[in-house]
C-alpha cells in the first residue's frame, strides 16, 4: 500500500464513525472510504489501478457470468456473514457450470448510519473468503441510501469464469435413469440463520455451511467431465432445485428420504419449528446429476473432498411428463415433493 500517495490528512476512524451520505456522494469522503476500506482489504493489482472497470486478458473458450444480490438478515450468523456469503454465492453460481471462477465485482448499497466497524468486519470477511477461494474482487461500487431506505447493507456480487473444454453442464440435461447426488448435510444454513433471527432465537450449535464449492466441482469435473447437471440448492432448498431441474429437463424424479443426509440437530430444529428440511436453504452444498454408470465414481470423488465427505446418492431421474418429484418416505409411504409456496412458515397447532 506504500505506493498510494497519502491524500487524506486524517484517517477514517473505523471503530467509531458511521456511514453518512457523503460516503456515497462521489466526493473525497467516498474516495477515502474506498481507499481505506475496500482497496485496503480487497487489495489486488487490478483494483489498485483505480479505474471504473477492471481490464484483463482471458483464455479462449466458453465463459460464464453470474450475479447474485445478498440481502440477508441477520448480517452476522453462526458460520458466516453477508460478506463471506456474497463471495461464496457467486463463486458457486459460476462453479455450477463446471467453470473455474476468475474474478468478482462487488456492489455495496449501504444505509446511512451503518456503523463502519460492522462494515469493516463484513469487508474483511469478504476479503478473506475471496483470498481463500483464490477469486479476487477486481472492481466495485458503493452507494449510500438514506436511513430507513435500506437494511444495513446489501451486497451484489458478479463473477466470471471459464469452462474447461468438454464440459457441458446444464439444467436441461437430466435424463431418465440418471442418478441424483447431494454433496452433504442439508438445511444447515437456513436453520443457522433462523436460530439468530429476532423473536426466534434458540440455542443451537448449528453453523451455516457457507462455502465456496469450486474446488469440489473442479475435482468432480476432472473425474467425470460428463456430469449432466450441477446446482447449489440455496433458497427453497433441495426441493426447489430439483423442481427447477425437472421442469427444465421435462423429467420426473424419485427420491429416497432415508438416503438424504440431515444432521440430527437440524432435523430437531425443523421438527420444533414445523419446517421441512427439504425446503431449507443451503450455501455450501450442491446437487449433481449424472448417468448411472458414472454415479459411483462421482460419489467416491465427492467423498474424498473435504466439502463432500457426507455426499450421498439420494434418488434417480424418471420419465414423467408432469415433472413430479416423488419421495419414498422413511415411513414407507410416498409423497410429492412440490415447489415451496410462499415462505415456509411455522405451523400453529
Amino acid at each position: 500500500m506504500n505506493d498510494i500517495p497519502k491524500r487524506f490528512s486524517v484517517r477514517i476512524n473505523m471503530q467509531k464513525e458511521h456511514v453518512d451520505m457523503t460516503h456515497g456522494s462521489g466526493g473525497r469522503a467516498m474516495a477515502q472510504l474506498i481507499e481505506e476500506l475496500f482497496v485496503k482489504h480487497f487489495d489486488n493489482d487490478l483494483l489498485r489501478q483505480g479505474n471504473d472497470q477492471a481490464a484483463f486478458d482471458v483464455s479462449a473458450g466458453r465463459m460464464v457470468m453470474s450475479t447474485d444480490g445478498h440481502v440477508v438478515s441477520p448480517l452476522f450468523f453462526p458460520g458466516g456473514d453477508i460478506g463471506s456469503l456474497a463471495v461464496h454465492g457467486t463463486v458457486n453460481d459460476i462453479a455450477m457450470s463446471g467453470a473455474k471462477p476468475l474474478y468478482l465485482s462487488a456492489g455495496f448499497i449501504i444505509e446511512e448510519g451503518f456503523a463502519l466497524v460492522e462494515l469493516e468486519r463484513i469487508v474483511k470477511s469478504m476479503a478473506a473468503a475471496s483470498a481463500k477461494a483464490g477469486v479476487p474482487v477486481v472492481t466495485g461500487d458503493t452507494k449510500v441510501v438514506e436511513k430507513g431506505k435500506g437494511d444495513g447493507v446489501f451486497i451484489t456480487t458478479t463473477g466470471i469464469g471459464v469452462v474447461p473444454d468438454g464440459v457441458n453442464i446444464s439444467g436441461h440435461r437430466a435424463t431418465p435413469g440418471d442418478v441424483i447426488l447431494v454433496s452433504g448435510y442439508i438445511g444447515d444454513h437456513g436453520v443457522a440463520i433462523l436460530s439468530k433471527r429476532e423473536n426466534l432465537e434458540f440455542e443451537t450449535e448449528i453453523r451455516s455451511d457457507s462455502a465456496a464449492l469450486h474446488t469440489l466441482v473442479a475435482s468432480m469435473v476432472e473425474a467425470i467431465p460428463d456430469i449432466h447437471c450441477l446446482r447449489d440448492p440455496t433458497r427453497g432448498g433441495i426441493a426447489a432445485t430439483l423442481n427447477e431441474i425437472s421442469q427444465q429437463s421435462h423429467v420426473g424424479m424419485k427420491l429416497f428420504e432415508k438416503h438424504i443426509p440431515v444432521r440430527p440437530d437440524v432435523a430437531a430444529a425443523c421438527e420444533l419449528l414445523g419446517l421441512d428440511s427439504l425446503y431449507v436453504a443451503n450455501e455450501g452444498k450442491l446437487i449433481a446429476i449424472c448417468s448411472q454408470q458414472h454415479a459411483n465414481k462421482l460419489l467416491q470423488v465427492m467423498r474424498e473432498h473435504p466439502l463432500g465427505q457426507q455426499a450421498a446418492i439420494i434418488g434417480q431421474v424418471t420419465e414423467d411428463a408432469h415433472g413430479f418429484i416423488t419421495m419414498e418416505t422413511r415411513f414407507g409411504g410416498s409423497r410429492v415433493v412440490d415447489w415451496l409456496a410462499g415462505e415456509q412458515l411455522p405451523r400453529i397447532c
Binding site: F331, G342, R347
Partner: protein
C-alpha cells in the same frame, strides 16, 4: 433421534399395516375422520394412505385453525391493521389466507399496514412494550392449544399495566365443532357423508383431556380415538378405531397416553376460564354459526379486548365463487371435487383457506398427493 424417529419407524409401520389389513373386514368400508389438520398433514407427508387397505379412508375434518376462520373476521383484522398507528401481530400461517376483495394480511402489509409475524404471544407483548405510542393488537386464532398462551399474555399485560396492547380474539372450541358436523344434514339426514369414527385431536386434548368427547361418542354412537400427530400414532389409532367399529363399540379411547389424560391440563383450563368466557355463537367457515363454539375475553379484562376497544364492523365478505372450502371443511366434499382445485386455486395462488395452510386438506392434496389423481386435466393445468 429421541421421540422423533421412534414414531416414524418403517418396520413398526409395516407391522401395523399388516394388522390393519387383516382386521379390516373386506365387506365393509371404514370412513375415519381425522379432525385435526395436524393429522391431515402427517397422513400426506408420510404417505400413510399408501399403507392402508382400499376400504379404509381418511375423511379430512375442519381442524385447521386458519381454515375455519370466516372471511369477515380476516377483513376485521385487516381493518384493524389499517388504523393509524396500529401494529397487528399475527401467526405466520394467517398471513396468506384470502380475505374478501382478493386481500390478505400479506397484501395489506405490502400496501403499508404494519403487520408483524410473531411466533408467540410473548413476541406481541414485547412489541407492545417497545412501541408505547402505538396500538398493538394480537390477532389470536386457534383451538384449545393456542388459547392458554393468549390467556397468559392478557394476564401479563394486565400485571404490567400495558395500555397499548389488546387481543382480537378468535379462539374456537373443538368439541362443539365435532358435534356440529355430526348434526349436519349431510351426516344425519342425507347420508352423503358417512363417518364411522374419529381420530380425536392430540394437542388440543392435552389441554382439555379426553373427557369432553365422551358425550358425543355416546350421543352419536361414534367411536373416538385420541391420536398423536406422528404417523405411527395415526396408524395405531386407526387400528383401534377399526377394532371398535368391528365390535360395534363407541367409546373414547386414548392412544396418545404419553401426553393426554382424561382430565387434561387443569392449570391451563383454569387460566383460560379466568380470562375467557363462551360466546353464544360464532361463525365458522364451512360450518356457519356454531353455538357455544368460541371464546371471548371476560369483562374484567375488557381493556385488552380489541373488539371493545375498537369499532369492529359486521362484514359480509364471502368466499370466492366456486370455492368448495366450506363443504371440504365439513368432510362433505374432497378437494378434487372442487372446480377451482389445481386450476385457478393452487398454493401459490390460493382462492380459499384450505389451500393456504400446510394443514389445509387442499394444500395437502396438492403438495403431497396430486400424483395420485386420476384426472389428467387437473395436472395439465399446472
Amino acid at each position: 433421534m429421541k421421540y422423533v424417529d421412534e414414531f416414524r419407524d418403517q418396520d413398526l409401520a409395516k407391522n401395523l399395516a399388516k394388522s390393519i389389513a387383516s382386521e379390516a373386514e373386506p365387506s365393509r368400508t371404514y370412513n375415519v375422520m381425522e379432525f385435526c389438520g395436524g393429522h391431515t398433514h402427517a397422513i400426506f407427508r408420510y404417505g400413510v394412505q399408501d399403507l392402508m387397505p382400499e376400504n379404509v379412508n381418511f375423511v379430512h375434518g375442519p381442524g385447521c385453525p386458519v381454515c375455519v376462520l370466516p372471511i369477515p373476521r380476516i377483513d376485521n383484522a385487516i381493518e384493524l391493521a389499517e388504523r393509524d398507528g396500529a401494529i397487528i401481530c399475527s401467526y405466520g400461517d394467517m398471513m396468506r389466507v384470502p380475505a374478501s376483495k382478493k386481500r390478505s394480511l400479506l397484501k395489506a402489509k405490502a400496501s403499508g399496514a404494519d403487520i408483524r409475524m410473531v411466533y408467540s404471544t410473548q413476541d406481541a407483548l414485547k412489541i407492545a412494550r417497545n412501541n408505547p405510542d402505538r396500538e398493538v393488537v394480537f390477532f389470536a386464532i386457534g383451538f384449545e392449544t393456542t388459547t392458554p398462551p393468549t390467556a397468559v399474555a392478557i394476564k401479563q399485560a394486565h400485571a404490567q399495566g400495558l395500555t397499548n396492547f389488546s387481543v382480537f380474539c378468535n379462539h374456537v372450541l373443538t368439541p362443539a365443532a365435532i358435534q356440529h358436523i355430526l348434526q349436519s344434514p349431510e351426516v344425519r339426514e342425507i347420508g352423503t357423508v358417512s363417518i364411522d369414527g374419529f381420530l380425536g385431536p392430540s394437542h388440543v386434548s392435552s389441554i382439555i383431556g379426553s373427557q369432553p368427547y365422551e358425550y358425543f361418542s355416546e350421543e352419536f354412537q361414534k367411536p373416538v380415538v385420541i391420536a398423536g400427530f406422528e404417523p405411527l400414532d395415526v396408524m395405531q389409532s386407526t387400528l383401534m378405531l377399526i377394532r371398535q367399529i368391528n365390535e360395534d363399540r363407541h367409546e373414547v379411547e386414548n392412544e396418545y397416553k404419553r401426553v393426554v389424560t382424561r382430565q387434561g391440563n387443569q392449570k391451563a383450563q383454569d387460566l383460560v376460564g379466568e380470562v375467557f368466557e363462551l360466546r353464544r355463537e360464532f361463525e365458522w367457515r364451512g360450518l356457519g354459526q356454531v353455538p357455544y363454539s368460541a371464546l371471548r375475553i371476560k369483562q374484567a379484562f375488557s381493556q385488552f379486548d380489541a373488539e371493545q376497544r375498537f369499532e369492529i364492523t359486521q362484514g359480509n365478505g364471502k368466499d370466492v365463487k366456486g370455492c368448495e372450502c366450506p363443504a371440504i371443511l365439513r368432510g362433505a366434499k374432497k378437494p378434487t371435487d372442487c372446480k377451482l382445485f389445481g386450476t385457478v386455486c393452487t398454493p401459490d395462488n390460493p382462492q380459499g383457506s384450505c389451500m393456504v395452510s400446510s394443514e389445509g386438506s387442499c394444500a395437502a392434496y396438492w403438495s403431497y398427493g396430486r400424483f395420485r389423481l386420476d384426472g389428467e386435466s387437473k395436472v395439465a393445468a399446472e
